[in-house]
């Protein structure tokens, strides 16, 4: 019986571990809790009164929720920028912080899923989208594809991070033979989540500005700027306020990779605008939305 309770005990030990900290730590937790409480309160009001509270209307039927979702998919996908140098090129400085990148990906994906659920008119019917018990419109609907890739990416990253942390907590090094297949899947999968998210928009012939073939590459390029940029900010804070060491080499390498991605991003961005604005006067439905 003691064996059976062990995972629970381990969980309690860990829980104790994360609830210990200085006054700034508690202040930070209180700060976050404050916004969580506000958010939960707002969501309860939204459940009660409907999405009318968001001030979205038929003309602008997707707003802040969906744009946040899209941005965070990019942030999650950007973990690949750490995974590739860390595991594929065995680049030491980044290997030391790759776990943080993967954890950020997990957090971002969870936020993505929460944003999509918040955007749903009938969240309690979410099971309708599942295969077999629901009526998933696969492969016709790209939203069905997105459900698969996002949850898959969440699972892959959770397994990888959980495995490494678990081994470390046992006082053992992780085995590359176990981690390797996960890493190999996670790299194309990271690209796929943002590609499929771009396809969500891309596949709509009714929206000329979205219906551009360069959208998916552009999404990836911009994600590889914004995601790691967020990471650099976090790393700078983390290495100042905690004992965790993050080397300058790692941060400069990430900055360098962002610069490359930014080049591609600007190129795809201008290509997109040039192509779409050439026929601007008669652009169709989306412009009438304003």
């Amino acid at each position: 019986m003691t064996d059976f309770l062990q995972p629970l005990k381990n969980f309690v030990i860990t829980l104790k571990f994360i609830t210990k900290g200085g006054k700034w730590y508690y202040a930070w937790l209180a700060f976050l809790a404050f916004f969580i409480v506000i958010g939960v309160g707002a969501y309860i009001r939204q459940i009660d009164q409907g999405l009318i509270l968001t001030n979205m209307r038929d003309q602008v039927s997707w707003g802040f929720y969906i744009s946040n979702f899209t941005f965070l998919v990019g942030v999650a996908a950007a973990a690949v920028l750490l995974v590739i140098p860390a595991y594929l090129y065995n680049f030491k400085p980044i290997k030391e912080i790759v776990l943080l990148g993967e954890m950020l990906a997990i957090a971002a994906i969870i936020m993505c899923l929460l944003f999509v659920v918040s955007d749903m008119g009938r969240p309690e019917r979410g099971w309708h989208i599942l295969p077999i018990i629901g009526a998933m419109n696969f492969p016709a609907s790209l939203l069905a594809w997105d459900v698969i890739v996002l949850n898959g990416y969440l699972a892959i990253n959770s397994i990888a991070v959980f495995y490494v942390l678990y081994r470390l907590s046992m006082g053992k090094e992780y085995k590359m033979s176990v981690l390797w297949p996960i890493v190999i899947i996670s790299i194309p999968w990271a690209i796929s989540i943002h590609t499929v998210t771009a396809f969500l928009y891309n596949g709509l012939s009714s929206r000329p500005f979205w219906n551009a073939s360069i959208l998916a590459p552009r999404f990836i390029a911009s994600a590889l700027c914004s995601g790691p940029a967020l990471m650099i900010i976090l790393f700078q804070i983390v290495r100042r306020v905690s004992k965790m060491e993050i080397s300058d080499t790692a941060i400069f390498k990430i900055a360098e990779l962002i610069a490359y991605a930014m080049g591609i991003n600007l190129n795809t961005c201008t290509s997109d605008y040039t192509a779409t604005t050439t026929w601007l006067p008669g652009c169709g439905w989306p412009l009438s939305l304003t």
């Binding site: 064996d3 005990k9 997707w62 955007d119 008119g121 609907s141 907590s169 929206r207 008669g282």
Partner: protein
């Protein structure tokens, strides 16, 4: 990360067996009995997709809905699930040279189809265009909220737009739950009890024909139309998408009736009929007038034909 490389042992190893045991116990704890919850709530929660129900199940659902509606609105509804008539493919014609922009069709539709009055939902939008200015495919050149003392105005013409009942509907393709589909008589319908309210169909529709219940739909009791179809004008709930169904509750019946908008149009601009019947009025229009369809370049292939007859 220095913290991790310290190799401090904070927890004890767990073997596979105890993980399995823990998982099973955890899952078992989820199976808490539902207790005294209202049965109808659970029935509606677990209601199957309309197309997967057999006739008995449909009947059960209809009975449950009648009770629910009676409780909510105090009105006895006649909810039908009439199937498409074989050999019928509905088509619509609209004579733009006749339309005076009076919006009677808009409000006739609202009344017939139990659309929410507050917040307002209109399945038909009448667009106002300046004569000789831009071609009608470009919707943003149009004014939707024109409000003069009298219509028609001198330098304008009007184009009502509603669901175009596409043969190749983009909304159906994108729906992640198959909550919307094209019936055999060509009408695209929605199962309001299956829609999750993601609004992807609204992003996909090039005609702005789909409308969302942003708030709880409100209709005064005495204004409700109790003759309804499950896939058409039955009262909706908040958080689902709705759209024109060519008045499925009228057109599928025997004897059939014209859609409310056709009936109410004071200038006879609206034509409706069976595209497969060579003798029908709509076929006459298509064969003898210079008809066009909106945004044909998008390959949606609407069954809604516009023309200038005079």
């Amino acid at each position: 990360m220095r913290k991790n490389t310290k190799k401090k042992i904070v927890s004890r190893p767990v073997d596979r067996r105890s993980v399995l045991k823990g998982t099973v116990m955890g899952l078992a704890s989820l199976a808490i009995p539902f207790g005294t919850a209202d049965a109808s709530i659970w029935e509606s929660f677990f209601q199957k997709h309309f197309r997967e129900m057999n006739d008995d199940e449909k009947q059960e659902v209809i009975e449950r809905m009648k009770t629910e509606y009676a409780e909510e609105y105090g009105v006895d509804f006649n909810i039908r699930t009439t199937n498409p008539i074989p050999g019928v493919l509905f088509g619509y014609g609209l004579d733009l040279s006749r339309c005076i922009g009076c919006r009677r069709c808009v409000y006739g539709c609202v009344k017939e189809n139990n659309q929410s009055r507050d917040p307002q939902i209109h399945w038909i939008s009448v667009l106002q265009f300046e004569k000789g200015h831009k071609w009608v495919n470009i919707f943003e050149e149009a004014t939707k909220y024109y409000n003069p003392h009298e219509v028609p105005e001198e330098d304008f013409f009007y184009m009502p737009v509603q669901c175009q009942q596409c043969e190749n509907p983009p909304c159906v393709k994108v729906c992640p739950t198959q909550a919307t589909w094209k019936e055999r008589d060509g009408i695209t319908v929605i199962d309001y009890n299956w829609c999750i309210g993601c609004r992807y169909c609204m992003a996909a529709c090039p005609y702005g024909a789909r409308h969302f219940n942003w708030g709880k739909p409100r209709v005064a009791k005495e204004e409700l139309n109790p003759e309804v179809h499950y896939l058409g004008n039955r009262p909706r709930m908040k958080g689902v998408v709705e759209k024109c169904t060519f008045c499925i509750q009228r057109t599928r019946e025997n004897p059939g009736r014209y859609p409310a908008c056709v009936e109410i149009c004071p200038v006879g601009a609206r034509k409706f009929g069976n595209l497969l019947d060579p003798e029908s009025e709509i076929r006459y229009c298509i064969e003898n007038k210079r008809v066009f369809r909106l945004k044909e370049d998008l390959n949606t292939s609407p069954k809604f034909y516009y023309f200038f007859a005079t």
